[in-house]
């Protein structure tokens, strides 16, 4: 997956010349333990998919927990869901899908050796990723202001007295019994765990994107060796898929509880 030999080739100097055996010329990015470039790319792609499968299992645990608790504490999860803002959620979904599109275009630019296009696509993906996190920050700050972050300062106000809360009132929530209202904290725990884990993946992805923008400007990915860009694309699209499922589960499916 490393691209370290893609540019600045010429390190095959003394003391041992690995090409001394007289084997055929090969592209500088082909490692010696691979037969050919295709085998190398296949191995890297396969490994990337195995990594993504472990990620599927990791997020799968969170999704399963969400489904089980939603089944147990259904009224609390419905009321909790009404606190989320569909507008920001939809906008964020659109931002993330667009960033996936620009990333896919980036892979195409790398494959067709378009350096300027690749740099542009990576920068756009970078900006859209930051935009997603920015919108998420707005949403999180709303939760903080209303004391909907699980912990010592968690407030049941919106659920015990829905008329005092704009979102709960708009959704027509009825006052909840104390023991069920307390379980809204479970909803927000899962909300922050799932969206927070997703946001952490975004932050890691954006950091790698920043690195890739500099490498792309140096021409690292447009000389025929696209594995790094391609596999990063897989990661970025995977993070997009997680959000594609988080969005309906957290925001949409509890609008009409009956």
């Amino acid at each position: 997956m490393s691209d370290s030999t893609a540019i600045g080739h010429g390190a095959h100097a003394a003391p041992v010349d690995p090409h001394a055996g007289g084997h055929a010329e090969h592209p500088p990015y082909l490692r010696h333990h691979f037969e050919n470039v295709e085998q190398q790319a296949d191995a890297a792609g396969f490994a990337m998919w195995l990594f993504l499968l472990t990620e599927v299992m990791f997020f799968g645990g969170l999704f399963t927990a969400y489904l089980i608790y939603r089944n147990w504490y259904y009224p609390a999860f419905v009321a909790g869901s009404h606190q989320l803002n569909i507008f920001w959620g939809t906008l964020n979904t659109a931002v993330l899908i667009t960033s996936s599109f620009t990333m896919a275009m980036g892979v195409w630019c790398a494959e067709t050796h378009k350096k300027k296009g690749l740099v542009l696509c990576l920068i756009l993906t970078f900006i859209l990723g930051l935009g997603f996190l920015g919108i998420k920050t707005i949403e999180y700050s709303e939760k903080i202001e209303k004391h909907h972050v699980p912990g010592f300062h968690y407030s049941l106000q919106s659920f015990l007295d829905p008329d005092s809360d704009a979102e709960a009132k708009a959704a027509g929530d009825k006052p909840m019994a104390l023991d069920m209202a307390r379980h809204t904290e479970v909803y927000f725990s899962l909300y922050f765990a799932m969206t927070g884990m997703h946001a952490l993946h975004m932050i890691i992805g954006i950091a790698i994107l920043g690195f890739m923008i500099f490498r792309a400007q140096a021409g690292a990915y447009t000389l025929g060796h696209v594995t790094f860009v391609e596999n990063f694309g897989l990661y970025w699209h995977f993070v997009d898929i997680i959000w594609i499922f988080l969005f309906p589960l957290l925001y949409l499916i509890s609008r009409h509880p009956n």
Binding site: A104, E111, G233, D240, I244, L252
Partner: protein, 105 residues
């Protein structure tokens, strides 16, 4: 060198931008659809429609953005195995949780 380059490109399928534009557009349209559907009163079908649209979107992303449609059989098998294992695990866990109390009341 040139031969190798040509050989490499002939084996590596490049997905055209037209497909990316179509898929990206479809994903945005489906997002609009799922938000619209959430405002309708569909009863039990509200979550079903939402999850179904999410699955369609995920399949589009996996097949085209992630190139699985154009990938080797090994990649296709890997993705399928992962999905199957995930569904088996989540299915068994949920059926246990939802049926454990049956017959005890």
């Amino acid at each position: 060198m040139t031969d190798q380059k040509e050989m490499e490109e002939s084996q590596h399928h490049i997905v055209s931008p037209v497909i990316y534009i179509i898929i990206g557009g479809s994903l945005l349209v489906l997002t609009g659809l799922t938000v619209g559907a959430s405002y309708l009163e569909l009863g039990i079908f509200n979550p079903i429609v939402a999850i179904l649209i999410a699955c369609i979107k995920a399949v589009l992303v996996v097949l085209f953005f992630m190139h699985v449609k154009y990938s080797s059989k090994l990649t296709k098998l890997t993705v399928f195995c992962g999905l199957f294992t995930f569904l088996a695990l989540i299915g068994m866990t949920l059926s246990d949780y939802f049926s454990r109390a049956w017959g005890t009341w």
